[in-house]
Symmetry: C2
Subunit: 585 residues, 2 copies
């Protein structure tokens, strides 16, 4: 029980020197990668860059204690940073103490929500985000993020709450471009694009081993950071209007308290919930992918607890919402991390950076960080999915396009909500029209098949309906309409047999519909029978009055049901030959 | 096409004198019943009594044109009146012009929403209200309504926004009871209770025919109205503090305009949506029940249009939200109404009442109307359902109790929302854990059954999983977890066969999960195979890369799949006898 909530007790027992070496090695590589990323994502969230470092220390240690993934690397990520900017920007202006307080409070709320959902084992809520919605959301977020960072590349002032506004604002400020900033930003961006694809082959050609080349290529952003800092100093760019990171407070994260202002919490709880769910979905997908590669396991519900603890820790150490990131977890995995301890060592690395490295970052151009962000998020933009979805499923395509459209035009929060609502409505629409078929007997067999597809035997006074779906409240109304309409269409019908072979469940609404059908058919003098009811379904039906009040019988097989009720033609009894001749028995 | 949207064109063609007589007869009886009801429900909605009459004229005529039920009687109903009071009370004080404007605007918004949902054929949205939620909501509303009317019976001032507050308010004002009011209210209530059960048998004993006795008993409220008016005049109760209806403007409904104030509309749209959906569900249930009795049909989507038109008409003629009511529709049906024209004749009856009858109602005690309401709504309170639900389904019980609890403690709107949310969460929770089984071959057959329930044959390097559910985004994550965990549990597994015999659909999320499973199993050197894929599912899968990239084969039957992949034991090939001996072929 304790191990379920504290996975560290499990892997900690077998921790040894070999594992320590692997974890340390991975931690060094992830630390090098994480420093520029943390600064950049904090910038994207509208926060001072150092906040990104703060959010990469204590949260990692807490995740190491409570998380179930061996290789997930937690910290600030692009989409969550954008969502933080959107939520905090709605309650305060960037750069104010209130804005920072809002970001910290978002981390707190999100942490509490994640932990509570985890303790309630409510990870299933993440199912509300279908793949088309997630991919649409990430594509649109990528476009929004890249667009929002262009101003730093151009060295201009621009804003906008949605994509058309952002583009308009950029276009109208294009005259004030700072060429020195552009001279930093464009090469940095091109270099980083090249690093993604071209650096590894180049390093291989230089004679590095495959794994070493791959790892070294991950240090590309650090090289860009170092080179642009050097350029700023060499060409005295600070005086030429290039925006720099500037002074970063040196030292470990301060202890901060999230706000307890109820008015603020009321404004932030919806964005915090969306941040929690999006963050959880992103994190758990990454964790599952990596765990499967080594045939390990994660527990989604405990992941909620782990991420919750990480976010609460972030709130108390001056950070903002964090989650498991795709790129850095993959690097952690490839670098050979064996246990969550690697994350804790990364945290120590980042802490050392805040103690000793921050003065070096004074001259880092903002444009370099913007270039890092743009290159990272453009790889998230996926333009192939819409076409694939269109071919595969129009409903999924619709949910995808709604998500992209609303996210671009009305922002990230409404985008997620619209996507979830669209998926759910389409699902409910389909669920409200389940499949059922009028069936008849395949001649000279005991099988019953759809009358529309097979040449089968039926009699006018018996209507056999096979229901291909569990009866729940979403289709209970349909069931009533369907059965009663089919009966209304056939004035000769005296018996209805519902074939329950595929009915896995009947909820209270389904039961009530069956009772209503029974009652209404009874009013019209029509018998209602059931056949092939599954054991568990029958057990529950027996606990009710339904079977007793049934205006007909429950038959073990459809064949028996059909044979027996076909005999009741409402005509005077005839000889056995009469029925045999008609195939009734 | 035109007939679909104007059902009057259908039944109007065959209208004749016989039908006219039946409809007129029914209209007279419904009119007599509707007058006190309309006055009472307007009182419940916090509106002047005459508004109830206004809401019973034009809406009935519009429903007769656009509605599809032959016998539904539209007008003010108890639950919708309570919801109107709650919504209008949130934006204005009772008795003000703003309050009336809010009620009219609610009718307008609700009418537009219903009509739009109808034109979009979105009647399926009513499925969101499960039977346990509806019955919980109606029970709790009945308790709230009855409690709210007690103050009129006692002749005291009391209020409260939720049930505990109402009870507290009544208790603290109990000292100021007006005994004369009580002397009217209690006998009226007892009389009306007796009328419900005892009047018909008494009339039968007096020698009336069965149907005549039943119809006469429905006039009970009119008798109560007449007797209490007489008592007021006879004992001069107006001077003794008994609250009376007072002056009612004489004449046809005025033409009114709903508000176009966006701030007001923003406050009212959520309650208007809830009023629309609750009203639609109530109405369509009644209409379906009555239609089934005569083997007639209604079209739920066109019913939305009909009710929408009725509500828009109500908004333009000084009324408030209306819907089809259970009691009056049943009376209309029993009285022999044949077509919606009966509703139009009822409207004429009510119009005549507003022209000539209103002066007679000056001395009608409010307590009589309150007694009418209490007796009507207490029959809606259903105390047996919770026990039945508890025995049948704990999830449905939970949704029922949540709805009752939230409605009583936080009001009708939050009650409905909480009920819908609870049902949906429980549904999603169940949908996220569908049924699947590890299967093995029943010896010497081609059948495959659950290994836990049957004695079947399996081999350690092949895992066969039968999935008993469509693969949608709600269970896509489960599928990944389930398959990968089962594989992680069995280190010997080299092949996984997914048996798709019960998979009716695979949406884009399900497809992506299958691709992820394929990819991850491939990483571990494990083959993934499908068997018994249904035709339509296979057709769609073929449009994707999935089948091509599948790390295994698609087999027509599970038997073929098992026979073929069992041969790949990973051991050096052995003789055919070896496999035969092990039952592998």
């Amino acid at each position: 029980m304790l191990k379920r909530y504290l996975p560290i007790l499990e892997w900690g027992r077998t921790y040894n020197r070999g594992v320590l070496t692997d974890d340390l090695m991975a931690a060094v590589i992830v630390t090098i990668m994480l420093i520029p990323q943390s600064l950049a994502y904090a910038l994207l969230a509208g926060l001072p860059p150092v906040i990104g470092l703060y959010a990469s220390i204590l949260p990692l240690i807490l995740y190491a204690v409570f998380g179930t993934s061996r290789t997930l690397a937690v910290g600030p990520v692009a989409v969550i940073s954008l969502m933080t900017a959107s939520a905090a920007g709605a309650v305060a202006a960037q750069g104010t103490a209130q804005y920072l307080e809002a970001a910290i409070t978002l981390a707190m709320l999100s942490g509490i929500m994640l932990a509570v959902l985890g303790l309630l084992r409510a990870g299933f809520l993440a199912n509300l985000l279908s793949h088309p919605v997630i991919s649409g959301f990430i594509t649109a977020s990528g476009i929004l993020i890249a667009t929002s960072q262009l101003r730093h590349i151009f060295g201009i002032e621009a804003g906008g709450d949605n994509w058309p506004e952002m583009i308009g604002s950029l276009a109208s400020a294009i005259g004030t471009i700072n060429v020195w900033t552009l001279a930093i930003g464009i090469p940095a961006m091109l270099f980083l694009f090249w690093v993604r694809k071209g650096a590894k082959p180049a390093l291989l050609r230089l004679g590095l081993a495959d794994r070493a080349a791959g790892m070294t290529a991950k240090a590309g952003p650090v090289v860009a950071v170092a080179m642009t800092i050097f350029a700023v100093i060499a060409f005295d760019l600070a005086d030429r209007g290039v925006a720099l990171v500037g002074p970063i407070p040196q030292g470990l994260p301060p202890i901060t308290m999230p706000s307890t202002d109820l008015a603020l919490i009321e404004k932030l709880w919806v964005p915090a919930l969306l941040i929690s769910i999006i963050g959880f979905v992103e994190s758990v997908s990454v964790a599952q992918t990596l765990a499967a590669k080594r045939r390990q396991r994660i527990s989604p519900d405990q992941e909620l607890v782990g991420l919750g603890a990480a976010n609460i820790a972030s709130a108390f150490s001056g950070g903002y919402p964090v989650t498991g990131g795709f790129a850095r977890s993959a690097v952690n995995f490839d670098a050979g991390a064996q246990t969550p301890a690697a994350g804790a060592y990364t945290a120590i690395g980042i802490a050392l950076a805040t103690l000793f490295l921050t003065p070096l970052l004074f001259n880092l151009p903002i444009a370099t960080l913007a270039a890092t962000i743009i290159v990272a998020v453009l790889s998230l933009v996926d333009l192939k999915t819409p076409g694939q979805l269109w071919r595969y499923s129009k409903a999924d395509f619709a949910a995808h396009i709604v998500t992209i459209g609303v996210t671009l035009l009305a922002g990230v929060e409404l985008g997620v909500i619209a996507g979830v609502a669209a998926s759910l409505l389409l699902y409910l629409w389909r669920a409200s029209r389940p499949h059922a078929a009028i069936v008849g007997r395949v001649p000279e067999t005991e099988h019953f098949r759809n009358v529309d597809r097979h040449s089968v035997f039926t009699v006018p006074h018996v209507l056999s309906i096979r229901i291909d779906e569990a009866l729940t409240y979403l289709n209970a109304r349909w069931l009533e309409e369907y059965v009663l309409e089919e009966v209304a269409d056939r004035p000769a019908v005296r018996h209805v047999i519902l074939m329950f072979s595929a009915v896995n469940e009947v909820d209270a609404s389904g039961l009530e519909s069956l009772e209503a059908i029974n009652h209404r058919l009874g009013d019209g003098g029509i018998g209602l029978h059931l056949s092939e009811v599954k054991g568990p379904v029958m057990d529950r039906l027996k606990r009710t009055q339904f079977v007793e009040e049934l205006n007909g019988k429950v038959f073990l097989t459809q064949d028996r049901a059909f044979a027996e009720v076909s005999l009741d033609t409402g005509e005077p009894p005839a000889s056995v030959d009469h029925y045999l001749a008609r195939g009734l028995i």
